[in-house]
């Protein structure tokens, strides 16, 4: 004796936020029922386990039927099958595209390929996120990537319009797409301390300042590819370290400006040339894709770590970078002011964000 068929269909599709989250988290129906029972819905509504099971199965089925639409959120708004109030639609989409920080840190900067997808069970084991949920998140990344790849116009705006995501989530996806496209290395041990939001911030900086879109806003891939001309121009900055005079001049200007303003003045003075070489070398190498990938690790190794070992505070770093940038403008023989500003603006905000005390 068994219930062979059990369905409930409302004219307005009924969706319980809590159950939706359990589904998104990749729970099986039985596990979800257990969680719900522990949550105390039963006492609240005098329901039996049987009722709970029936309700959970039914909702899981509804979500499954909706999934196809969620993968193309624009369709959700003008499909006829489910009558869902707009605020509910927004909730469904937002939660479907939400991702776990732990998960995204594992995947960020990796190629969104079949190979990566195959490794998701390792990610699942490592993060404690169910494989099903990992797959959904991964597929979301991939789907967004594929769609915006072929679109013109600003990246964030495209994501927001195509996937009807709220602004913050659209920015996060822009970062994910940007990282995946440029294959930035984020998984190295030295980078482990950085959160996804740190990277997302840096991605925002890079997108806004270093891509083609920063100068021309109607090109394909404008926001996902770095501006090649700019990268080429960065080579010119080498003069700052190659020309001994210039380097010394630069150093003395910075020292004058910082004297007495920071506790780590001595360390700064001794390290100036190393630090400057580090930053300028990063700039000069960016034409090489391999070095682009190592951008963040280079920042950490060449700048953040030395400062850390000398116990600079964030304020010190800020002060130093401000004067380091500005002083170069005063150097008479330094002709590449525009490139320098464009470069250092991003470097400064990225380093400040990445500099955890």
């Amino acid at each position: 004796m068994s219930v062979e068929l059990d369905v409930f269909v409302g004219n307005t599709t009924i969706m319980d936020k809590e159950v939706y989250q359990l589904w998104l988290n990749g729970y099986t129906v039985n596990d979800a029922v257990k969680v719900r029972m522990e949550g105390g819905v039963m006492e609240e509504c005098e329901a039996s386990a049987e009722v709970l099971l029936s309700d959970t199965m039914d909702q899981f089925r509804t979500f499954q039927m909706c999934e196809r639409l969620l993968q193309n959120p624009a369709k959700l708004a003008n499909q006829l099958l489910f009558q869902i109030p707009p605020d509910r639609q927004a909730m469904l989409i937002e939660r479907y595209y939400a991702f776990a920080d732990a998960f995204v840190r594992e995947v960020l900067g990796k190629k969104l390929s079949k190979g990566t997808k195959k490794d998701l069970d390792d990610v699942s084991a490592k993060t404690g996120i169910t494989l099903k949920s990992c797959r959904r998140q991964f597929d979301n990344f991939k789907r967004v990537f594929k769609v915006v790849e072929e679109l013109k116009g600003p990246l964030v705006e495209n994501i927001r319009q195509h996937f009807l995501l709220p602004d913050q989530l659209a920015r996060d996806y822009a970062a994910i797409v940007f990282f995946a496209n440029n294959r930035f290395e984020t998984g190295k041990k030295k980078l482990q301390y950085l959160t996804f939001q740190d990277f997302a911030f840096c991605a925002g900086q890079l997108i806004n300042n270093w891509t083609v879109g920063a100068v021309d806003n109607m090109v394909e891939d404008m926001d996902v590819d770095l501006d090649k001309e700019f990268l080429q121009d960065l080579k010119d900055l080498k003069i700052l370290i190659a020309d001994k005079d210039l380097l010394d001049q630069h150093k003395s200007l910075v020292c004058v400006a910082l004297r007495g303003k920071t506790k780590v003045f001595n360390e700064m003075e001794t390290n100036f040339k190393n630090l400057s070489r580090g930053l300028v070398n990063i700039a000069a190498k960016l034409t090489n894709p391999k070095d682009v990938r190592d951008f963040f690790i280079d920042l950490v190794e060449k700048f953040i770590e030395p400062c850390k070992s000398d116990r600079w505070t964030a304020t010190d770093v800020n002060l130093y970078l401000t004067h380091y940038t500005n002083s170069a403008h005063i150097l008479d023989s330094f002709k590449y002011q525009t490139v320098w500003t464009r470069y250092m603006g991003v470097i400064k905000s990225c380093i400040l964000r990445m500099y955890h005390e």
Binding site: V7, C45, M65
Partner: protein
């Protein structure tokens, strides 16, 4: 060529990928009407094609316009092989044939395929030009309006209610044609869908013709069903109530306001003199006679068929033979004038073959008295139909059943049957036909033509609110023993102790507290059988099934401390090895009826001490339950001063016995003490385990969780401040019995649990809407296969505002509630009704005279002398010989209510909980509800009837998520298609929505399943009251605004 149909295909979207290679589709569209087909160009390589075609024009007869649907097929062009069909859209263009309904159909329709479901959408524009308005009514019945709503639709008023219309058409079922062996399932399904669509159109046209013949212009309470008889054919049948309706227009409204003041004084005068319920008329109720008291009497097998005729109430079913000839048994209780009037009304009704009305809600003062439920069933063998392709045999079957209903009504002293419905249950070659309704006496106002109406208008003076509870039959010559008391409201007329009806709670009824859904559920095993033997076995089981259902209902009613049932619907479903019975109704406490006594249990073996103890425990439980229920449903009627005062009725403590027996345990006896006293009037005697089980099951009905109420009527008495929160839903469960050798008891428990658990799940699902009421809860039970029980529920959950209900609550509130909901009626109908009878209203009078040029008996069937019992008997015998078995039985229930003529409090609470508007969305939100109204909103236009039939089949059941996944998406698709059609008509809601049929078949081994669903409803445009409130100055001007808005849209 009286009509030109024009269609234009605009665009498609979300089409499926038909070409794997390119991941695209080369779509084009065929537009077909009748035998003419047009094609659009191919729109290559697009999933969102823009065809923007020219206008395709079809010049057709209006007859075809009514019968045929417009058929739109979307195909994928293939250069080398045959074009693949993507899917189809059938558009019923009937709404365009009515000048007052929709003018254009325009919108996105889901493209539907019977194998794949919805596959994208197509945007289509459809218009109809009717060439000659004058000619329009000749060959066809274009222009007759159809409504599923079983009351007078909101923006109309009834000028005349002509009465019953029915029609039945038969065709060969495409699924059983020889060609089905060689064609694809898709082709077969499509043939079926198309055929049913055609037959529905034809049926509607034929009914329309009958309506025109009767002088009407509309069918209200239109109920269409189809019977899948299998080999013998496919039957589509419909019943309805022909009416002459007037649209409430602005000019009208103005006239009414004037007339209102003019007409009322004269009315008052007349009321004093001649009014039926006027205080001046002395009660002439014959010499006091001791009354035999027996609560219920119905559900008895007719003599000729009952094998176990031990039941004493058998006689009752034969009451039709006692003095029914004159049809005058009714008129004796009041003055002679009244009797005369009534006879006139009656004669007006009697000229009709069947004075039946499918309405469940009535214009004020139309329903005078209610007798009780009448029902009849018969068992037929489908393989014995002589001429299966012709409708004659089925017509005769139904005719016979209707005659029986009519005679039952007569036995109750009633000349009409209201809340009438018909249904079937088919298993292999056995078919059970059922008909039921409520015997009633109606006012002549709406049934007679204008002249008569003017003459005897005084009879139509609004009776007191308790009027409908007063017994219509002659107290001295009662058709069945009943316990009568004086009405607790007016104290002048007799009322019965309980009242069962199939109608909605009348708006004017005084109800104490709240109501609740009451269900009786029963399963009976039967042996597998064939042909005649099987039919006989079923015939023999039926009366016992019904009797027990009835007992259960009555017990459960008493357990809730209530005294009346409304919306009673008894379903009997037949399977190979069992019969299922489900009776649903809404129990209420009618203030006019006496308070029900408690239930007392008596043991039969008094010596056994433990047994005694057991009994007393049980008794305590029952008493507790009753007390708890009274509190729950807020039943605390005003103490009624001892009714003996002034009562000519002696109160003998009488006991009458009802014997209950069923095939297995015929020794079981249920004794009922139906004495008149307030307490313990109802004795259940327990003498075997069955009875104990029964009582247990009484007590196992779980109470609804806090914050929930449920009913199967339109609205719940006692709740009135609805918010706009509305959720219509359909839930289906199929239960597999793995154990083949179940006892009746075991089966009962399973069935009972199935229903209870389903309800529990619904409450849980809808918990976010609390406080809320499930209204119009409609259960459909079926036995799709040997070991399967299928239960489908459609209902609407409506949330209400709790705080207000408590403030206003109780007595005076009772009325407000109903008024609040039916505020349209309050504002529009009531004054209109009054003006309608006033001769000073030229409009209504003229209408009455011109449109009813004499009552028209149905031309088809000559009236039958139904009073002749012998005739019927012999015809039965004849049928016996034809091996078609009939079982009949009339259930006769009674009720009462009393009503203080309390003025209607004006304090109508509106809850204007924000209705979420849907900015930016291109899709119209379409509300669906089984009710005839939308709380907090005004229906401003009826756009036409929605009547859709879909088949869905799959050969990849597992891939579609198993049976649940399959059915889930199918039901969602059906909703989507209904909404799309309504939106295309320009509407934003479906009212009186119902799922008539949900036939589900599966074959998991073959990975296959098939499902058929038939839904119907009325497409409407509504506007929120809040939007109307801009001009709250006068209600009347509000109405004017509304209708002009309607025209504007």
């Amino acid at each position: 060529m009286p009509g030109k149909l024009k269609a234009k295909v605009v665009a498609g979207r979300h089409l499926p990928v038909m070409d794997r290679a390119s991941d695209l589709t080369d779509a084009f569209v065929e537009v077909k009407f009748g035998t003419t087909t047009f094609k659009t160009d191919v729109c290559p390589k697009s999933l969102n094609p823009q065809w923007n075609s020219e206008w395709f024009k079809f010049e057709v007869d209006d007859e075809d316009l009514q019968d045929e649907p417009l058929q739109i097929t979307v195909l994928d062009h293939d250069t080398y092989s045959a074009n693949d069909a993507i899917g189809k859209v059938y558009i019923d263009i009937d709404p365009l044939l009515c000048s007052e309904a929709a003018t254009v159909i325009s919108g996105w329709f889901p493209i539907y395929d019977t194998i794949h479901g919805i596959r994208g959408e197509i945007n289509v524009l459809v218009k109809v030009d009717l060439f000659n308005d004058l000619n329009r009514f000749r060959q066809s019945s274009c222009g007759v309006k159809f409504f599923c709503t079983t009351s007078i639709p909101r923006c109309f008023r009834a000028v005349l209610i002509h009465g019953f219309v029915e029609e039945l058409v038969v065709n060969e079922d495409p699924e059983y044609q020889w060609i089905d062996r060689i064609r694809t399932p898709r082709a077969s399904n499509e043939a079926r869908q198309r055929l049913i669509s055609l037959m529905s159109g034809e049926l509607q046209r034929k009914i329309g013709l009958k309506v025109l013949e009767m002088g009407g212009n509309a069918v209200v309470g239109y109920l269409q069903c189809f019977d899948l008889e299998g080999e013998s054919g496919l039957v589509v049948r419909a019943i309805g109530t022909a009416c002459t309706l007037d649209k409430i227009s602005s000019t009208y409204t103005a006239a009414i306001v004037q007339n209102l003041s003019n007409s009322s004084p004269s009315k008052d005068m007349k009321e004093a003199g001649f009014g039926e319920e006027a205080p001046g008329v002395p009660l002439s109720s014959g010499p006091p006679t001791p009354l035999r008291a027996q609560t219920f009497s119905s559900f008895s097998p007719s003599k000729s068929y009952s094998r176990q005729s031990s039941s004493s109430d058998t006689e009752l079913s034969l009451t039709p033979k006692t003095g029914m000839g004159s049809g005058g048994s009714a008129g004796k209780e009041a003055g002679p004038l009244k009797a005369l009037l009534r006879q006139q009304t009656q004669s007006a009704l009697e000229q009709r073959e069947f004075p039946f009305f499918t309405l469940t809600g009535f214009p004020p003062a139309f329903l005078l008295h209610v007798g009780g439920v009448v029902s009849a069933r018969s068992v037929k063998l489908l393989d014995r139909i002589h001429n299966p392709d012709e409708p004659e045999t089925r017509d005769a079957w139904w005719e016979e059943l209707r005659q029986e209903i009519k005679s039952h009504a007569k036995a109750l002293g009633c000349h009409a049957v209201v809340g009438y419905s018909e249904s079937t249950s088919i298993c292999e070659e056995v078919c059970i036909l059922s008909a039921s309704g409520t015997a009633a006496i109606l006012s002549s106002r709406f049934v007679q033509d204008g002249a008569l109406d003017t003459d005897h208008r005084f009879e139509d003076v609004a009776p007191p609110a308790c009027g409908f509870c007063h017994i219509p039959y002659d107290e001295l010559n009662m058709p069945f023993p009943a316990q009568l008391t004086y009405c607790h409201c007016c104290r002048r007329h007799k009322v019965p102790d309980v009242l069962f009806t199939t109608i909605d709670v009348p708006t004017e009824a005084n109800v104490t507290g709240k109501g609740c859904l009451i269900q009786a559920r029963l399963c009976r095993t039967k042996k597998k059988g064939q042909g005649e033997g099987n039919a006989t076995a079923i015939s023999n089981l039926l009366p016992f099934l019904e009797y027990e259902l009835h007992t259960q209902l009555l017990n459960k009613l008493k357990l809730r401390g209530m005294n009346a049932l409304f919306g009673l619907r008894v379903q009997i479903s037949v399977g190979d090895t069992m019969l299922l019975g489900l009776a649903s109704a809404t129990g209420v406490y009618l203030t006019a009826l006496p308070s029900p006594g408690g239930i007392q249990i008596a043991g039969k073996t008094p010596n056994d001490i433990t047994y005694e103890q057991h009994i007393s425990n049980m008794q305590k439980k029952i008493n507790d339950t009753i007390a708890k229920n009274k509190e729950l449903y807020e039943i605390n009627p005003p103490e009624f001063v001892e009714e003996v005062i002034g009562s000519p009725i002696p109160e003998p403590r009488q006991r009458s016995r009802l014997f209950r027996s069923h095939s297995e345990s015929s020794d079981e006896v249920l004794e009922l003490d139906l004495s008149h006293g307030k307490k313990d009037a109802f004795v259940l005697e327990i003498d075997d385990t069955d009875a104990i089980e029964d009582i247990h099951s009484l007590l196992t009905d779980a109470p609804t969780p806090p914050g929930f109420y449920s009913c199967n009527t339109e609205i719940m008495p006692g709740i009135y401040n609805w918010t706009s929160g509305l959720q219509m839903f359909t839930s289906v469960r199929v239960f597999r019995l793995s154990n083949a050798n179940l006892t009746n008891q075991g089966l009962n428990k399973i069935f009972n649990d199935l229903c209870e658990n389903l309800l529990k799940s619904l409450y849980f699902k809808l918990r976010s809407m609390v406080p809320c009421c499930l209204c119009h809860v409609n259960f459909i039970v079926a036995v799709p296969e040997d070991e399967l029980i299928q239960v489908a529920v459609t209902a609407v959950a409506m949330s209400f505002d709790k705080d207000q209900s408590q403030e206003n609550g109780r007595q005076s509130g009772d009325k407000t509630l109903m008024k609040a909901i039916t505020e349209n009626e309050e504002q529009l109908q009531f004054p209109l009704e009054l003006s309608a009878e006033s001769p000073s209203n030229p409009l209504s009078c003229a209408k009455g005279l011109s449109e009813v040029s004499g009552p028209l008996p149905s031309a088809r069937a000559p009236s039958v002398d139904h009073s002749s019992f012998t005739d019927r008997c012999s015809s039965w015998i004849e049928q016996l010989r034809l091996k078609a078995h009939t079982i009949r039985r009339g259930s006769i229930k009674t009720m009462s209510s009393l009503e203080k003529a309390s003025p209607v409090p004006e304090g109508r609470s509106r809850s204007l909980r924000s209705n979420r508007s849907c900015p930016g969305s291109s899709i119209t939100v379409v509300k669906m509800t089984p009710l005839s109204f939308i709380p907090g909103a005004k229906i401003i236009k009826y756009l036409g009837i929605i009547n859709m039939f879909f088949i869905r089949e799959t050969t990849s059941l597992r891939e579609e998520g198993g049976v649940s996944g399959f059915l889930h998406s199918f039901i969602a698709e059906v909703f989507a298609m209904v909404r799309a059609h309504v939106a295309a008509l320009g509407g934003n809601a479906v009212v009186s929505y119902s799922m008539k049929e949900c036939v589900f078949m599966e074959n998991p081994n073959k990975n296959q399943a098939q499902c058929l669903i038939n839904v119907s409803g009325d497409a409407v445009i509504f506007i929120r009251e809040s939007e109307l409130e801009a001009t709250p100055s006068q209600t009347q001007s509000g109405n004017v605004q509304t209708s002009s808005n309607g025209e504007g849209t």
